[in-house]
Amino acid sequence: MEFVAPVLNYTLLSPMLILLGGALIGVLVEAFVSKALRPITQLSITLGSLVLALVQVWRIRNEQSMTAAMGSVIIDGPAVLMQASIIIISIISVFLIADTEHFTALAAALPGSDEERHALQTGNQVTEVYPLTLFAVAGMLLFPISSDLITLFVALEMLSLPLYLMAGLSRRRRLASQEAALKYFLLGAFSSAFFLFGAAFLYGYSSSITFAGIRNAVVGGAGNDVFLLIGIAFLSVGLLFKVGAFPFHAWSPDVYQGAPTPVTAFMAAATKVAAFGAMLRIFYTSFANAQWSWSPMLVVIAIVTMLFGSLVAIAQRDVKRMLAYSSIAHAGFLLSGVIALNKAGLEASIFYLFAYGVATVGGFAIVTLVRDSAGEVTDLNRWKGLGKRSPWVATAFAIFLLSFAGIPLTSGFIGKFAIFSAAYENGATSVVIAGVLSSAIAAFFYIRVIVLMFFTDPVEDGTSVEIPSGLTSIAVIFSLVITIALGVFPAPVLNFISDLATFIR
């Protein structure tokens, strides 16, 4: 029992290390750089480290390793793909975050107080969001590549904590924003308790906390599976909470609505990739041989989630809430990729996650642009006639919506097709049918928004579209290009995914 010095493969871990490094520098910047210079410095550091991380991910794209961090992480094709997706989505989100006006000037100041007013006047900014973002991204990168329950749990918390905080930093409607943070935090902690409890039973079942060990136990299959089942169920509660699946979805409408829109965009898109990444890995590797036990459960949850999300979204009057319910429905669609449990399902899920994530960021980017004197206008009734006043913004939003609805020639369609195909291949016909049905329902509310924007006369109530600043424009255009390109010429990306998407065990 001699202590062996741990060996870390820094190359393979470099994307996360770069981001953590960037975050630490960011913290130091908070301490040592003057207020005026902080925003630009932080933005440069954040973007720089994200781009660097992306480059690093690209460079390790063909690496495969189980031992990059003493068995705590797995680097393989899907890992690279998930990480790349997360980083790309994060980069787009950072453009949004960096735009002014979204975050409170001083989080500690009471809403409506003189202190706040003063902070606003002096142009104070909470530049801490940049390091927080980087921490969250680092956590997200770690989440889908974790290969033991400890790392998974730590990563879960690491991606969650910054998001809890950031959800509460909105500049306008601060009470709602803080409420969102509180709800997100309490429910997140609640669900992570379930997660941990489930992890305990998995450990009990397999006497191992690594995925490989659990897998071996499942394959070996000694005794009855009560511990395994409890473990899977509770672990799923945690994961399903993060992806926003029914009945663990309840936080997402409130949080999406209350959080500053760039944060909403970021967490809606990137968290989903990370959470589904982890989910795919653990279900595809560790639990694959116990498919009989969890597949029916996920089928039911997927179907209910799709239908619930689509139905409730119809009744929404607030664009952010509507997108939240839409994201619930999409979580249902994505679950069918997990249920598929085949290579096609993995590829489809990755593609879907990326496509959906990018479109989501784009969609929320548009939301940030529609505002009146009091800030963003999220009441759909006041989006009337947007197409008249700002055709380009409305058109862009319409394209994102069409992508959500899965209309051909947008990325959403290819994703939907791929993921349902995979599910069908595994015989999950009911999921496919429910998916198709709820897509039809979902189409209804996406189209209703398009109607509002294009076919309804504007109400003169001061709602206007802010001329997009350079950064938001970049985010929108970037998302738009990806959304359309993936709809029209998905082949390169699909091939790239196909080449890489195999979990190593």
Partner: protein, 263 residues
């Protein structure tokens, strides 16, 4: 669950005794957390649960964890809770009546179902292998064993946790830290300001609480010459905590003065 019965040697009986004494206490304390009105009491009960758990840890050959549970968890984390409780009003009590329609029966049903089913399931569980015990794992000492794992196998999450701690610190700072945006005014500036203000009413300083009032407690506002209560005579903190008494009660007009006129 028979398979899990451990032959844990001599300690078996004492452990059982300890368990059967502490476990009911623990459950009772936990239930108490739900039932007591005051948050502080809940916190105290929570601390006791934690300490009991520490005993269980130690009983189960997790010495290090047991100590950490007491020192760090109960000692630091719970103190943090108490600290915050103090901040938000230590004696504010929670009404236990349920305000959300239908929530309580649902919660109780779900909980009973959840707990009952869990217990029932655990009763059915078999592991297919015997329990091992930690004798060999702890052969070099519990702390050493843990340290070896922490610093070799789990070094990466260990590192990452540091980032988590930074995040937490940063987060707390963002939410709580009041950056001084203006320079603090000097005494001189303040007094100049006081006299150059629109009104000279407060030039001589704020009234103290209880002055001219029928009570002179700190939470009773002073009365102005015209008989109205002076809100600014009360400490802002008390006001914020909601501990200020309704000043209207002490308005002179409300005082029954009719007695003097009766003979």
């Amino acid at each position: 669950m028979v398979d899990l019965a451990l032959a844990v040697g001599q300690t078996q009986t004492p452990e059982a005794v300890m368990f059967w004494i502490l476990a009911p206490l623990t459950v009772a304390a936990a239930l108490g957390m739900l039932l007591v009105k005051k948050a502080v009491h809940s916190a105290i009960l929570m601390a006791s649960v934690m300490i009991n758990l520490a005993f269980f840890y130690i009983a189960q050959d997790a010495l290090f964890l047991g100590i950490v549970q007491i020192v760090v968890y109960t000692g630091a984390v719970m103190m943090l809770f108490l600290f915050i409780l103090m901040l938000v009003g230590v004696d504010s009590s929670d009404s236990l009546t349920e305000t959300i329609t239908g929530l309580r029966p649902i919660a109780i049903t779900a909980a009973v179902g959840f707990g009952g089913l869990m217990v029932s399931l655990l009763g059915r569980a078999t592991l297919g292998r015997g329990a091992v015990g930690l004798e060999s794992a702890n052969s070099n000492g519990n702390v050493k064993g843990l340290a070896k794992l922490l610093f070799s196998t789990y070094v990466w999450p260990f590192e990452v946790v540091s980032a988590l701690l930074i995040t937490a610190a940063l987060g707390a700072m963002v939410l709580a830290h009041h950056q001084r945006i203006q320079t603090r005014p000097t005494q001189r500036q303040l007094s100049t300001q006081r006299f150059r203000g629109k009104s000279l009413a407060n030039a001589a300083g704020l009234p103290g609480p209880g002055v001219f009032a029928r009570h002179n407690a700190v939470d009773v506002p002073a009365l102005l010459p015209d008989g109205t209560p002076a809100q600014n005579s009360i400490n802002a903190t008390l006001e914020a905590r909601g501990d200020m008494l309704n000043s209207g009660v002490f308005e002179l007009g409300k005082v029954d003065t009719s007695a003097g006129e009766e003979k």
